[in-house]
């Protein structure tokens, strides 16, 4: 009896229940600790710990030389990081919101993505650019968009977007250790809304591997980012009637094509759900790949439930812009009733 009590106590002590912000923070601490070349830079990342507190406490522990509060200049932050990376450091640059990546687009597309190729592998650019993304939190203008496809479309860049705390930690660690530039999107709607008990020690989740978030046999949902949770919830609500498989792509480039095609072959019906605008969104690429590799397995045209080809609205109307439950539900019904 006494023994049992002790065991329980020990077990609960090992618990590491974290939200996504805390999981990312833990990953940063562990990587800073194990590799002195890792540096963090960006606007308000040091003294303030980042506006979302992802880098909280790091400057205190690792000092101003490795956790750098930069001037307010995104092109500066990324260009500076490219130089640092080429010199042998492993910079983790934070862009405060993904909507402010654009001043840095020149540095990302013209240099970060190309350095390896232009120098035939002599110089490389192992840098991570972290950026909170997505809508659904009543944010200000320019703070809600999902424009990941700009960088998925850019040769030489890897693009990651976790949807859970445990994935966030493992993927960030892999991204930091990756030899190439990675844009690491963090859906801020998830930042504090999901908690998970995750391993305390450092671990990697390989880039390029999707996660089957929910197994099913009738319909495959291909999705990523904050809407993974919505897809699971809708799938749950339908479980008496339809068996829905939800695949969280996690890494958008390079895509885990095997997991996608395997699921398509199993269910024959696909709904793609993403927050980003529809036209030329990553959903379009997924449909093209499915057509190339599994067209004859399809029993219905692939349906997309996405953000609209409009400017992301201010928050009073954002719930309509987001692929909400009603819209996901309709997508599933449409693909089933084709």
């Amino acid at each position: 009896m006494v023994k049992k009590k002790k065991q329980i106590k020990k077990k609960s002590k090992q618990k590491n229940v974290l939200n996504m912000v805390e999981a990312l923070n833990q990953a940063l601490f562990q990587e800073m600790n194990q590799d002195e070349d890792v540096v963090i830079l960006g606007e308000d990342v040091g003294l303030d710990g980042g506006v979302f507190r992802v880098s909280d406490g790091l400057q205190k522990k690792y000092g101003k030389e490795r956790v750098i509060d930069t001037p307010l200049a995104e092109s500066g932050i990324v260009g500076f990081s490219i130089g640092m990376a080429a010199a042998g450091l492993k910079p983790i640059a934070e862009i405060q919101f993904s909507g402010f990546l654009y001043p840095a687009v020149n540095q990302i597309i013209s240099h970060a993505s190309r350095l390896r190729n232009r120098t035939r592998g002599a110089y490389t650019c192992p840098l991570v650019i972290r950026a909170p993304c997505g809508g659904g939190i009543r944010a200000l203008e320019h703070h809600s968009e999902s424009m990941e496809n700009i960088f998925i479309h850019t040769p030489g860049i890897k693009v990651v977007m976790p949807s859970t705390p445990s994935d966030a930690k493992g993927l960030l660690i892999s991204a930091i250790r990756d030899p190439d530039p990675v844009i690491f999107y963090e859906p801020k709607r998830v930042y504090r809304s999901i908690k998970e008990d995750i391993p305390k020690e450092s671990y990697e989740i390989p880039l390029g591997k999707a996660r089957i978030s929910r197994e099913g046999t009738d319909v495959s949902i291909l999705t990523w980012g904050s809407v993974v949770k919505d897809c699971n919830e809708v799938a749950d609500s339908l479980k008496e009637k339809v068996s829905v498989e939800v695949i969280d792509l996690r890494t958008l480039k390079p895509l885990d094509i095997e997991t996608v095609i395997e699921s398509v072959k199993k269910t024959g019906r696909v709904v793609i759900v993403h927050e980003a605008p529809k036209t030329s969104g990553f959903g379009a690429e997924l449909i093209a790949l499915i057509n190339e590799k599994a067209l004859l397995d399809l029993q219905a045209p692939v349906i997309r439930v996405t953000g609209f080809d409009t400017i992301f609205p201010l928050y009073k109307l954002e719930k309509h812009y987001m692929p909400n439950h009603d819209r996901i539900m309709k997508g599933i019904n449409d693909v089933l009733n084709y």
Partner: protein, 356 residues
């Protein structure tokens, strides 16, 4: 070998009202007393509206916004100096400029309440909507000024931005374009000492922001930004030079953001309460109040009463804001292009099917 000094520069500073109530009489702008009182009331309205917005934000009635508390003199003073024909291009902390130029104040409540209609600008107000991407608006002011000049108009443009924004490429490109084309633009940098948590001294190694003008070959001046007369005077002169084709000016208003960066910020993480109370004594409203009392423009009774008058005005602004019917989903699509293309029509129809 020749080694000599080929150029020397100076940085001017202007202050008219000191925080202790003293002033330089010969520098007081020649304004009727009624204007001075109006300037005071505009500052007070800005302050009260700010307070009200904080309360509304806490109640969840509006979203995140950037308070202006502490910067009323630099914003009202500069906007008051504009002529009816001039234009301004703000960032996101210049609500007092909109109010001063006559934009109905409920628009700001609509905008921060997540309603696009808040971004509409009443004809005649001559302003661009709020610009959230830091520093990006400065280039628009420069281009607009070029347009106005080419059309033979006698107008000048003001653009507002923060000390943090001076690190962005856009702001430097804007000042350079303005210098190269000798454009009628006044750059007003509200140096409120912080860009979120980053202090002014960590933003640039330059001693002043005003001296950045020198590198672009334009005029630069630093003013006490909590002194509405200094701001008014410097802006008025800069606008006149601009309209006379004498080129652009950078005005650095040294001021202080007395509140948090936004309602999502906690400024106690990066600045001391001692510093905050130092600046509290330099409150721009207090300073003008002292002057008005000293010059007998108004008496104590006025200052007691005006608080209530302005608070009532704020309540009616809120009521007007709340009287707007909610926006509808068409509003997401309608203004993407002049004509709605087929794909937007399709997407709107699909959306409507999911709304009960």
């Amino acid at each position: 070998m020749v080694k000599k000094i080929i150029a020397k520069f100076e940085v001017e500073y202007l202050q008219v009202l000191k925080h202790n109530g003293r002033f330089y009489p010969n520098l007081i702008p020649k304004l009727p007393e009624s204007d001075i009182q109006k300037m005071y009331e505009l500052m007070l309205l800005s302050r009260k509206l700010d307070e009200k917005m904080l309360a509304l934000q806490r109640q969840g009635k509006i979203g995140t916004f950037a308070p202006v508390k502490g910067q009323e003199a630099s914003t009202v003073g500069s906007a008051y100096a504009m002529g009816y024909q001039d234009w301004f291009f703000p960032s996101f902390r210049e609500n007092p400029a909109y109010i001063t130029r006559g934009l109905p104040a409920e628009f700001t409540l609509l905008y921060h309440g997540g309603d696009e209609r808040g971004n509409q600008i009443t004809p005649g107000v001559n302003a661009f909507p709020i610009a959230v991407p830091v520093g990006s608006q400065t280039l628009h002011a420069v281009g607009f000024a070029y347009g106005l000049r080419l059309q033979g108009k006698d107008s000048a443009c003001i653009t507002y931005f923060g000390d943090g924004a001076t690190s962005e490429g856009d702001v430097n490109e804007a000042m350079n374009f303005a210098g190269v084309f000798n454009l009628p633009v006044v750059f007003i940098c509200q140096n409120n000492q912080y860009a979120i948590s980053l202090s002014r001294k960590n933003q640039t190694n330059a001693e002043t922001i005003a001296q950045r003008a020198i590198g672009f070959g334009i005029k630069g001046i630093q003013v006490d930004g909590n002194d509405i007369f200094a701001v008014y005077r410097a802006t008025k002169e800069a606008l006149e030079r601009a309209r006379n084709d004498e080129g652009p000016t950078l005005i650095e208003c040294v001021t202080y953001r007395m509140a948090d960066h936004t309602t999502a910020d906690d400024s106690s993480r990066y600045r001391s309460s001692r510093e905050v109370s130092f600046w509290k004594k330099r409150d721009p409203l207090l300073r003008l109040e002292l002057y008005m009392l000293k010059k007998k423009i108004q008496n104590y009774n006025y200052f007691d009463d005006i608080e209530d008058v302005i608070s009532e005005r704020v309540e009616s602004i809120v009521a007007r804001g709340e009287s707007y019917p909610p926006p509808n989903v068409e509003d997401i699509f309608k203004f993407t292009y002049k004509e709605m293309p087929w794909f937007l029509k399709e997407q709107l129809e699909e959306l409507k099917k999911t709304i009960k």
